[in-house]
Subunit: 209 residues, 2 copies
């Protein structure tokens, strides 16, 4: 059974419907977007949407779970590794940058979740779990003598991920071009790998020469 | 002329009205908050609100201008200083952390502005102006040999302020207590000065020992 196309517009599968919903949530806010808005944007009826998902909240859940699943997949891969905590921390940061770059609209939505609904509170709980995991890793690296002891590990972890998460504000992969000497290349120029390099250089060894 | 108190509630001056409005905008989103919601929250009529401000957009403008004026005041103070760009950059970062900590709800609103209204677009334009100023300072410090040359100055500037701006996500000055060895002290423990120290240590010299 497929969703019939209406007025010449293509039908949507769950994936493309989710993509449009997430874009709209990011533009207008989740609370500020109704199923009516989504229906208008898609050019299909609300009942055609309900054919795919039972509620707006379910769209949110699917979207933020995609971001969270990506981040936790990196975390589990990281936990399976031997070696020093500082190296696992760098692995986690690089993997997180890759997830942010690849799933940008989904992570953007996740990071803007406020906690007004059950799905949002569940997402916030998983975010806190991820934060605790980062903090624990920083703490361990500090205990091994690889992370500076003069900043609270919880603060270090939050500042580190503050840097990582800021990518959602300025990284626009669809507009890739090389940065120029005098332009604001930050918006456009970098691949996910180059971004991860930049984050690790600044965060691990600082911007000062 | 003062706003009469209604149903036993105190009257509001513009300042306290603005405080409640900003709190509500941050909880529900600016787009998702109506003057009706604000009127209910305040326990006064909409016309009592319109006695103080002509529109919801004017409340937004007043709020984000407070945050922006604070940041630009630091920038102007910074520009008046002699010496190396790297020292001016540190001055700007410390001053920005102080503004964030002191004007937390106002800066939070500023950083969530989406650009759907004229007031929001004006705020975004001033944010971009501030970003350019930071990038220019990083570029100058790199030219003076004090900032690493292997990351694009625009990227460095954005990562640095990604770290600074992340404070709005986790710093809660009203819940001050000392951090503990195993707790997540990051939420509560630090004064603005301690926060600025932490940001400068991590950003300028890195988290690695």
């Amino acid at each position: 059974m497929t969703t019939p196309a209406r007025r010449g517009r293509p039908g949507y599968d769950l994936e493309s419907l989710l993509g449009v919903a997430v874009k709209l949530f990011n533009e207008r806010g989740y609370d500020g977007t109704s199923m009516e808005d989504l229906s208008r944007k898609l050019g299909i009826t609300k009942s055609a949407i309900y054919h795919h998902v039972p509620s707006k909240e379910e769209l949110l859940r699917l979207a933020v779970d995609r971001a969270l699943n990506g981040l936790f997949a990196v975390a589990h891969e990281m936990e399976a590794q031997d070696g020093r905590a500082i190296d696992r921390l760098e692995f986690l940061v690089r993997g997180s940058v890759a997830v942010l770059a690849e799933q940008l609209p989904f992570v953007t939505l996740l990071l803007r979740v406020r906690g007004n609904t059950k799905a949002e509170r569940a997402a916030l709980a998983r975010r806190r779990e991820f934060d605790r995991l980062v903090t624990e890793l920083v703490r361990q690296a500090a205990a091994e003598g690889d992370v500076r002891p003069d900043v609270d590990p919880a603060v270090t972890a939050r500042l580190l991920y503050g840097m990582v998460n800021s990518l959602i504000e300025w990284y626009r992969p669809q507009a890739r071009r090389r940065s120029t000497a005098n332009g604001d290349g930050a918006e456009h120029g970098a691949t996910p790998d180059e971004l991860a390099d930049a984050v690790c250089k600044i965060a691990f060894t600082g911007l000062r020469t």
